[in-house]
């Protein structure tokens, strides 16, 4: 005799209930998607390009993305990576002006690559290098620390001021302490550039940040208001230090972030927001580079790569777990990765990942879609975000069991 089973009809829900369930599922999915959009991805998988796989030895100073191509400026030339493979390393023997490549910028209109470095400025176009030096052009100095492209202009931050090339007329203009009209630079040593649609932000070594209004042709300097390098008078006093190493700006607003060797300074157009290792989750006060990704600011420091979400007030730092041994020269390569998540409460939660950045001394970074490329002192690192969406959709009830996301969620609840 067959056991009694409830009829199919008894287990079938009514059309009205099914509709409610569908709406509920849709709402849940939408909420989950919204949560995924708000919660930043965590980079938990890294692939490193080092001398072990043919990459140039030494430091990687900068990285730039041009579609599927990734360009990296290194201590020993310009490296091109395409589809995850190192294609070529260009050096002075190939026609480059610089010995070491400090900065890269891709012209979105022409696809040309602009290369600034210790030795001059180069343009890589149609497979050839065209060089610009003090002796052959209007470049102010042969030490080029930053290069940026906006419209028809190419800007170069040099050790003797900022040079601007009009690529249509091939004419140069130098912004420095000498010349007419001179720029209000405390010191002429330009280190960082960020060119927006309306304003040019110039970071000066010892001269703070100077903002040039492109339409009105007016200047506005921002300096350390206490004027004493040995102190920070108030936390949000203004620019934290006049030693500005890097700059990035908001796409639409007047906001900009300045990386210094004394901490991170942000200006939102009205107020300053300063962060130091002592009072935040910033990995180190010694910042080599800054970048913006939406509202989140990234700081390339000598003790790791820090990301700050000003809305959630959460810091995330990536570095090799054995970074102290790497610094001391007691380890040749990173073992595992370390993620530190610090919320407003100030107590970091630590996670470990199987792979890691190539080194904790970070010099710069760039984004390629959801991926991140990081220039370090011992190679180029390609970071992949944790597959947050897949986790959400596949296992909606396990979202917060993903250790990294759970830690992030706990910190944001503070």
């Amino acid at each position: 005799m067959k056991p009694h089973l409830p009829s199919v009809a008894a287990r079938t829900i009514s059309p009205r209930a099914a509709a409610r369930l569908r709406v509920g599922l849709l709402a849940f999915t939408l909420l989950a998607a919204a949560a995924a959009a708000q919660t930043p991805p965590l980079y938990s998988r890294w692939i490193n390009y080092t001398p072990a796989n043919g990459f140039p030895r030494g430091e990687v100073y900068c990285v730039a993305i041009a579609g599927p191509r990734v360009w990296a400026g290194t201590e020993h030339g310009l490296a091109l990576i395409e589809n995850g493979r190192l294609r070529k390393v260009f050096t002075r023997a190939d026609g480059l002006a610089a010995y070491a490549i400090m900065s890269l910028a891709v012209d979105p209109n022409t696809g040309d690559l602009w290369i600034g470095g210790l030795g001059g400025l180069s343009r890589y176009s149609a497979g050839k290098f065209i060089n610009y030096t003090v002796l052959s052009s209007g470049l102010a100095n042969d030490l080029v620390y930053s290069v940026a492209v906006r419209g028809k202009y190419v800007w170069a931050a040099t050790a003797a001021g900022v040079s601007r090339l009009n690529t249509w007329t091939h004419s140069w203009r130098i912004f420095s302490v000498v010349g007419k009209p001179s720029a209000p630079f405390e010191e002429p040593w330009a280190y960082a550039l960020a060119i927006g649609p309306k304003k040019a932000y110039i970071g000066l070594w010892g001269g703070g940040v100077v903002v040039y209004d492109l339409r009105r042709k007016t200047w506005r300097p921002y300096l350390d208001p206490d004027g004493a390098p040995e102190i920070v008078l108030y936390r949000n006093q203004g620019l934290i230090s006049n030693m500005v190493s890097s700059l990035t700006h908001g796409a639409e607003s007047n906001a900009f972030w300045a990386g210094t060797y004394f901490g991170l300074s942000g200006y939102d157009g009205a107020r300053w927001h300063n962060y130091m290792r002592q009072d935040s989750g910033l990995a180190s006060n010694f910042i080599n580079g800054v970048a913006l990704q939406g509202r989140r600011v990234w700081a390339a420091t000598q003790r790791g790569l820090s990301e700050f979400d000003p809305g959630a007030r959460v810091w995330v730092t990536y570095r090799p777990a054995n970074w102290r041994a790497l610094d001391a020269g007691k380890a040749a390569r990173p073992q595992r990765g370390e993620i530190l998540i610090t919320g407003p409460g100030g107590h970091p939660r630590r996670l470990e990942t199987a792979t890691s950045l190539a080194h904790n001394y970070i010099l710069n970074l760039a984004f390629q879609g959801n991926d991140i490329w990081v220039a370090t002192a011992a190679g180029l690192s390609h970071g992949f975000a944790a597959p947050a969406r897949r986790i959400l959709y596949a296992h909606p009830n396990r979202v917060h069991r993903h250790p990294a996301r759970a830690a992030y969620a706990r910190q944001t609840r503070h």
Binding site: E59, Y61, E75, Y99, A100, M102, L118, G119, A140, N141, D142, L143, Y145, T158, A159, A160, V178, E187, P188, W189, Y191, W205, G206, D226, G227, A228, P229, E230, I231, V232, L233, Y234, R235, Q237, M243, Y261, F262, M276, Q278, S284, N285, F286, Q302, R303, W323, L326, D327, A328, G329, A331, A332, H359, N360, Y361, T376, A377, A378
Partner: protein, 455 residues
């Protein structure tokens, strides 16, 4: 009984030692890192701290051991194989072209460095390989010598560099070396900002304008009790940065300088400026320029009947001041980077060797370059051919002293020499030297030492 004898002997020794210390204050012959660690940044005088009367700053820099922490990958790089090298290259950057006014310091600096190198090579070099100096000329044009450090690295593979005199050139080299990781020992610039960048690749061994400014301010305001001091300075980077610490210290002490006037770096006529200052009723004049211009100013000042005392930094402690000003130079008080009248055996031996080789007396730039090159050579020998480890060896001098031919240096956490300076006065056509004695120091002398000697 024994303890009574010991106590008596101790008391007698203390009584004898106290006046000696009071008479010869100055530099540390016996450093006391614990006491030095409690000092304000750069041994700043009391009441000279920025905003010190009003507020405690949110953060302080340069006063902790991690001030110059470096976390790069350099220590893991394999050492170079010295067996494959013909020589151990060390770079030199300095003004050497005679038309450049600072070449007088640069040439002396080169001679001092060469002498140190010759001695090191006579003693076996590095594992039998000679040290070789790769000489690069600093240019008066801003930024023109910027590429020199890059060439030293990529073309000559230097292991470290000595230089430069000009503050701007040193800054440019410093910025480049942050990327290239080449240790720099600077023995000549007086620019106080080169050690205030947190770039961990530079050791500075020369009294900077911060130390000189504090010494002059204390002497003028606390010892001579002058009140209305004016400043006349060259309108160049040396003049602009040089006078700033003196000016700020005077202001913080309530002795706001009555006027600051500038003049072109190659000016020769100062009568108009001096007449302007004459009308102010100043009771002292501080000059921040080179020795020849100071000589012209003093001569023209006395010709106008102005009898106010004149003061200046170490660049005035040069024969050119006396040669240009003549008898008018008498009474001028300056800071001196060294005391050449010292009877210190190290200094005397160095002077003898220098005279034998260059047929001239060594000056402060030669002495500091000699010491700086010796520091570098010792660091290379200790660390091997790895630049980061060479710099680590130099970092070991933080809050420690180094006894060289220029005197006893004491390096703070920024690797800046903050040992007390020497003062000098022109008397009968010659400089007469005495050790700095700041009014806020105790009877034992400089806070960074347990006993005192002279720079």
């Amino acid at each position: 009984m024994n303890w009574k004898l010991t106590l008596l002997a101790g008391l007698t020794a203390a009584l004898l030692a106290a006046p000696m210390a009071a008479q010869a204050p100055g530099c540390p012959s016996g450093p006391s890192p614990t006491r030095a660690a409690r000092m304000r940044y750069a041994d700043m005088p009391s009441r000279a701290f920025p905003f010190g009367s009003f507020i405690q700053p949110y953060a302080l820099w340069f006063t902790t051991p991690d001030s110059l922490a470096f976390d790069g990958s350099g220590r893991a790089r394999p050492d170079a194989d010295w067996r494959r090298l013909r020589a151990i290259n060390l770079g030199f950057l300095g003004p050497l072209d005679p038309q450049y006014s600072e070449s007088v310091y640069g040439i002396a600096m080169l001679h001092g460095a060469e002498l140190a190198l010759a001695r090191a090579n006579a003693r076996g070099g590095f594992h039998g390989k000679p040290f070789a100096l790769k000489i690069h000329r600093d240019s008066p044009l801003w930024g023109a010598s910027a590429i020199e450090l890059v060439r030293m690295d990529y073309r000559q593979h230097v292991w470290a560099m000595l230089g430069s005199v000009d503050g701007a050139s040193t800054h440019i080299a410093l910025r480049a070396t942050l990327k290239l990781w080449v240790p720099i020992v600077d023995t000549a610039t007086t620019d106080p900002t080169v050690t205030e960048t947190r770039i961990p690749w530079l050791l500075h061994d020369f009294p900077d304008d911060r130390q000189q400014g504090y010494a002059l301010a204390d002497y003028i305001f606390n010892q001579l009790h002058l009140k209305h001091v004016a400043i006349l300075r060259a309108n160049n980077r040396y003049g602009r940065l040089g006078y700033t610490v003196f000016f700020n210290t005077a202001r913080r002490w309530g002795k706001q300088p009555v006027m600051v006037l500038k003049f072109e770096p190659y000016a020769t006529g100062f009568t108009r400026s001096l007449r302007e200052l004459q009308q102010l009723g100043m009771d002292g004049l501080v000059l921040w320029c080179n020795a020849r211009q100071a000589g012209l100013i003093v001569r023209q000042m006395r010709a106008l009947g102005m009898r106010q005392p004149v003061f200046g930094p170490s660049r005035l402690t040069y024969p050119a001041l006396i040669q240009t000003a003549g008898v008018a130079a008498n009474g001028v008080v300056t800071v001196a980077a060294i005391n050449p009248d010292r009877r210190d055996p190290k200094w005397l031996a160095f002077r003898r060797r220098y005279r034998a080789r260059y047929h001239a007396d060594p000056d402060a730039y030669a002495a500091y370059a000699y010491d700086g090159m010796n520091l570098l050579i010792a660091a290379v020998r200790q660390a091997g051919l790895n630049r980061t480890r060479i710099m680590d060896a130099l970092h070991a001098y933080a809050m420690r002293s180094y006894a060289g031919v220029s005197g006893t240096a004491f390096f703070d956490y920024t690797l800046n020499n903050i040992a007390p300076v020497t003062m000098a006065r022109v008397e009968h056509g010659h400089f007469v030297y005495w050790p700095e004695r700041r009014s806020d120091w105790s009877r034992r002398g400089w806070p960074g030492c347990t006993a005192a000697a002279g720079r």
